[in-house]
């Protein structure tokens, strides 16, 4: 029973690491800035997922607080990037 559970956790972490690699490829390739912002957003979600699994594996629920902070920061970061893209556009139009 315990073996099955730890194996399932292992497979989950493996899948998340593969997902992080794929997302990293999109961050590096991404032809435009919005593509990269989408990928960074997904990357932080993946980090939250890994923290959630880690808190389950290590029997320590204090790590869930990190997820709250990370979710707030990620949301603000994405909004800031979107505003920056629009600001860049309006600056180009005025010049």
């Amino acid at each position: 029973m315990q073996t099955i559970i730890s194996m399932l956790h292992f497979i989950s972490v493996l899948l998340l690491c593969g997902a992080a690699l794929l997302t990293l490829a999109r961050i590096l390739v991404g032809p435009t800035l919005p593509d990269r912002v989408v990928a960074i957003d997904l990357m932080s979600i993946l980090v939250m997922c890994i923290i959630a699994i880690y808190s389950v594996v290590s029997y320590n629920d204090i790590y869930l607080d990190i997820i709250i902070a990370l979710a707030l920061v990620t949301f603000l970061g994405t909004i800031a990037f979107a505003q920056f893209i629009e600001w860049q556009l309006s600056k180009d139009q005025h010049e």
């Binding site: 497979i11 957003d41 979600i45 939250m48 997922c49 699994i53 979107a82």
Partner: protein, 126 residues
């Protein structure tokens, strides 16, 4: 038993996150990429958090998890909407297989105003 359920939920969440990452890598343009990342990402993190709640089974953890999930379900669509809006403003190239772009004809690129003039025919983009 609850640990087994928790780990299966965690595996499902990880699978959804993997699908989201695959979609972000493989989809051809930004709106399709967001379609993959936002939906699957939100579902993935929610399933993983529910797995943590099932695993611990105490009230503070469950309350925290519900809080995070509600925040995710409010914040992620807002972030995706704002980003898609910005991407549309800077004329991101759409996929060449895009059949129709109904916003293009009703939308002023300079003033960012949206008209609802029904007389303007909606053109196909290709």
């Amino acid at each position: 038993m609850s640990e087994l359920i928790s780990s299966i939920l965690g595996l499902l969440g990880a699978l959804f996150c993997f699908i989201a990452a695959l979609g972000v890598l493989r989809m051809p343009d930004i709106l399709l990429r967001m379609h993959a990342s936002t939906k699957a990402g939100t579902l993935g993190i929610s399933l993983l958090l529910i797995s943590a709640a099932v695993h611990f089974g105490t009230f503070p953890v469950t309350a925290k998890v519900i809080l995070i999930i509600i925040f995710m379900f409010i914040a992620n669509p807002i972030a995706a909407h704002v980003l898609a809006r910005a991407a549309y403003f800077i004329d991101i190239p759409l996929w060449k297989g895009t059949v129709i772009d109904e916003l293009r004809e009703h939308y002023d690129q300079k003033t960012h105003e949206l008209g609802s003039d029904q007389n303007i025919p909606v053109k196909k983009t290709h």
